[in-house]
Amino acid sequence: MQPSNRSSRILLPAKGWFIYLSLFVALGLEYIPTGRVPGVPDWVALVLAFWCIREPLRIGMGTGFVFGLLVDVGLGAALGQHALAYVVLAYLVNGLARRLMWFPPLQQALHVLPMLLASQVLMVVVRMIAGAEFPGWSYFLSSFTSLLLWVPLTYLLLLPQFQPVERDDNRPI
């Protein structure tokens, strides 16, 4: 495993407990009552998208579904609303995971942005069919703040996998 496929640096394998810990921390951040402040990022979607790229065999639609339900219950949203959005997000990101690993973090973020927007549009469509009012265009700001957070988040979540660089002239890599 490398930071990206172009990098020559070798990373330690991702620990299962760390993946789920980061998802639960994101869930806790999601639950912070911020009222109607626009542009608060959807933390769970962000961390889920990250692990869907890094570990497409372990984290996917099933994880998205379970954490979507947890978000729905915690936020008092319609049950299944976030679950649906995260399942579709995980499907899209999992499908592109192999390709995204060839890009540096900033370009990965530009790939992830339309997928986050798609999941938000899906939630708006579902709730407006059910009779809710349009939450205003500022609702979509949260995808753009997620875009800004992608690069720092990449390094933060990869931190436990970095190992010290040992210079060894006799080793090929």
């Binding site: 009552p33 299944g80 009012e133």
Partner: protein, 298 residues
């Protein structure tokens, strides 16, 4: 197919294809959405899941509590003194009114007894603070700091000093969720204070209310005050709700009546949760058909 007539076993077991799994999950999600939004079947499931989410929610509420308490702590002395003076003045005014009210209440009860009318329903009330707006951006809801442990039940009315602001829709152990009048899925039965014309008020979003199903020729005009009619057995009758802003009689059979709430529906911080002490009496039994015949014969 191999020569011997059966498929070779797969080298890597990968389960169903991603698209199949996606369709499966999407179907499950849509089924859940329909059964939750349309039929309210999943409240039990929600309660079971909240066992997992509740500790996390409590932990997440701590920073919000901290910010609120810190802003209270740094309120200046001048502000507190000004508030205090204002409250004293209000207290004097309302104390005087309360004295008269008690007198009138006794007199009213006495007169009602004389006239052998049913007694007005007794009410109870619980004061509560609004903690924050509910995080769901698609609905107009707020969270109160009182819950089932303080005696709050689903369906109770929530008012502030100026009028009704909403109704309790979900109750947690120490918190409860109030759906505001301006939410699109909230309705409240009202009557016009001036002439007693009854109708139902619906939320219209953007802080507005809409009175629906009132015929175009009805006697209603801009500036009319609307109060609760109490017909639903939930809201106490006579609470102020809204004023009529505009009446449009141009459309089809029903008038388009836009109203503005009287209470600070999306601004107030301290509210009162009020409920009836007992359930309203059952509707009267249908009249015997003998009287109907009399009416017809005339």
């Amino acid at each position: 197919m191999s020569l011997v007539g059966h498929k070779p076993p797969p080298i890597f077991r990968r389960g169903p294809a991603p698209l199949v799994r996606l369709l499966l999950f999407v179907c499950v999600c849509l089924a859940m959405l329909v059964s939750d939004l349309r039929f309210r079947y999943l409240e039990m499931f929600r309660h079971a899941m909240s066992v997992v989410t509740y500790p996390l929610q409590m932990a997440a509420a701590t920073p919000a509590d901290f910010v609120r308490n810190a802003s209270l702590y740094f309120a200046t002395l001048v502000e507190v003194q000004r508030d205090n003076a204002e409250l004293r003045r209000q207290q004097l005014g309302s104390g005087e009114r309360l004295l008269r009210y008690e007198l009138l209440d006794q007199e009213n009860a006495h007169l009602r007894k004389l006239l052998e009318m049913a007694q007005r329903v007794q009410t109870r009330s619980i004061a509560a603070d609004i903690l924050y707006n509910a995080p769901d951006p698609f609905a107009r809801k707020v969270i109160l700091d009182r819950g089932a442990q303080q005696g709050i039940e689903p369906g109770l009315a929530v008012v502030d000093a100026a009028g009704v602001i909403g109704q309790v829709t979900r109750v947690f152990p120490v918190q409860s969720e109030v759906t505001l009048l301006t939410d699109r899925n909230q309705a409240i039965p009202v009557q016009v204070e001036r002439n007693g014309l009854r109708g139902v008020l619906f939320g219209a979003g953007q802080g507005r209310l809409e009175m629906r199903f009132v015929i175009g020729s009805a006697d209603i005009q801009p500036g009319d005050r609307l109060v609760t009619s109490g017909l639903d057995g939930v809201f106490v009758p006579g609470l102020p709700v809204a004023t009529v802003v505009s009446v449009d009689r141009e459309g089809d059979a029903f008038a388009g009546i836009v109203c503005a709430p009287l209470a600070g529906v999306e601004r107030s911080m301290q509210v009162l949760v009020i409920g009836r002490m007992d359930l309203p009496p059952p509707p009267p039994a249908p009249q015997p058909p003998v009287e109907k015949k009399k009416g017809k014969g005339r």
